[in-house]
Symmetry: C2
Subunit: 198 residues, 2 copies
């Protein structure tokens, strides 16, 4: 893999992806989830889980599925996927979430990472909607209860997105242990994420 860029654990980045360009997001070490946020490059449309659930008729997305904006336009299409399980239900971890759920002040978090990444490419995110959480592995039992599992991604696995319009993209290597296999006997630190234009 040439031109693979590493996002250190708990950090994020922003980039512009022009219509038709493709971005591969990679889990370099395995078992790590990441957040992908997309806005139209003019900042007027943002990724919408609720709109995507409506138009796709499903909550689990993989190859061939489209991620829609809150203005009902396609933003990204998944064109390849080594993993086949990602989450679009959970809001990105935030400063307040780390205080509330982990008792940690001023912790690195996906919301701030995504916001900063978007700002770096000229987009003011405003109120943040849920991101597409690559590799994050959430089961739903028949009563609707959510069960966080270890991501299924192995080292080097990735997912490829094609831009359906000019986009501002932000990525975050999720710093929340519980989204990355953490629990009794699980890892105690999070891992990097990576990406490359393909």
């Amino acid at each position: 893999m040439t031109n693979l860029q590493i996002i250190p654990p708990g950090r994020g980045t922003g980039l512009v992806l022009k219509r038709g360009e493709q971005l591969r997001v990679v889990d370099p070490e395995g078992g790590q989830s990441g957040d992908v946020m997309a806005f139209s490059l003019d900042g007027r449309q943002r990724l919408s889980n609720g709109r995507t659930f409506d138009y796709g008729g499903k909550i689990y997305l993989s190859t061939g599925d489209v991620l829609w904006s809150d203005a009902s336009e396609p933003l990204l299409t998944i064109v390849a996927d080594d993993v086949g399980r990602h989450d679009f239900l959970y809001a990105s971890c935030s400063r307040e979430m780390f205080v509330k759920e982990y008792g940690l002040q001023d912790h690195a978090n996906c919301t701030d990472n995504l916001r900063a990444g978007l700002r770096d490419v000229g987009v003011d995110a405003g109120p943040m909607q849920p991101a597409f959480n690559v590799f994050m592995n959430v089961d739903i039992d028949p009563t609707g209860r959510l069960i966080l599992q270890t991501p299924r991604s192995r080292a080097g696995d990735g997912i490829v997105f094609r831009a359906e319009q000019d986009l501002a993209i932000a990525l975050s290597a999720c710093p929340a242990i519980l989204c990355n296999g953490g629990s009794k006997g699980g890892p105690t630190t999070t891992r990097p994420l990576a990406f490359q234009r393909v």
Copy 2:
């Protein structure tokens, strides 16, 4: 039921609900879904499906469950529920959705209704996140596919919310046939919604 206020089919309204006050949202005729949006009265926090899924650990909410804001504060608690099935996955129907899915131009829609209702009580909604869709009945099959069913609500059934802080609330009687039992043999028009302070 005294002081029951009717929202005509396809229309919406806004109201202020102060901390500790309770609001009952009613399906007066049965089989009708509605959208409930909540913002902090200062307009700085909005209802978040992703945050609520995270903190509640479930996608189906009923009595005892809390609806959270995107700033990780409780907005509403469900304190009574005659129906037991509501949706928090689907984005509210919108002008663009009616063009795309029904081929209808300038159709009444929950997004515009909620935005207008919030504006009436002094809140500029900005980008709209998914509302809490009372009575809307969505099943998820084991593969994650979403199946729209007829609402389980019978005439007069309701759900009661308690405000956990001072709130701007907007309600909409959903004008989308597919959310209200529409299909082969189903209804061809939508019905009113109602509400009362309790």
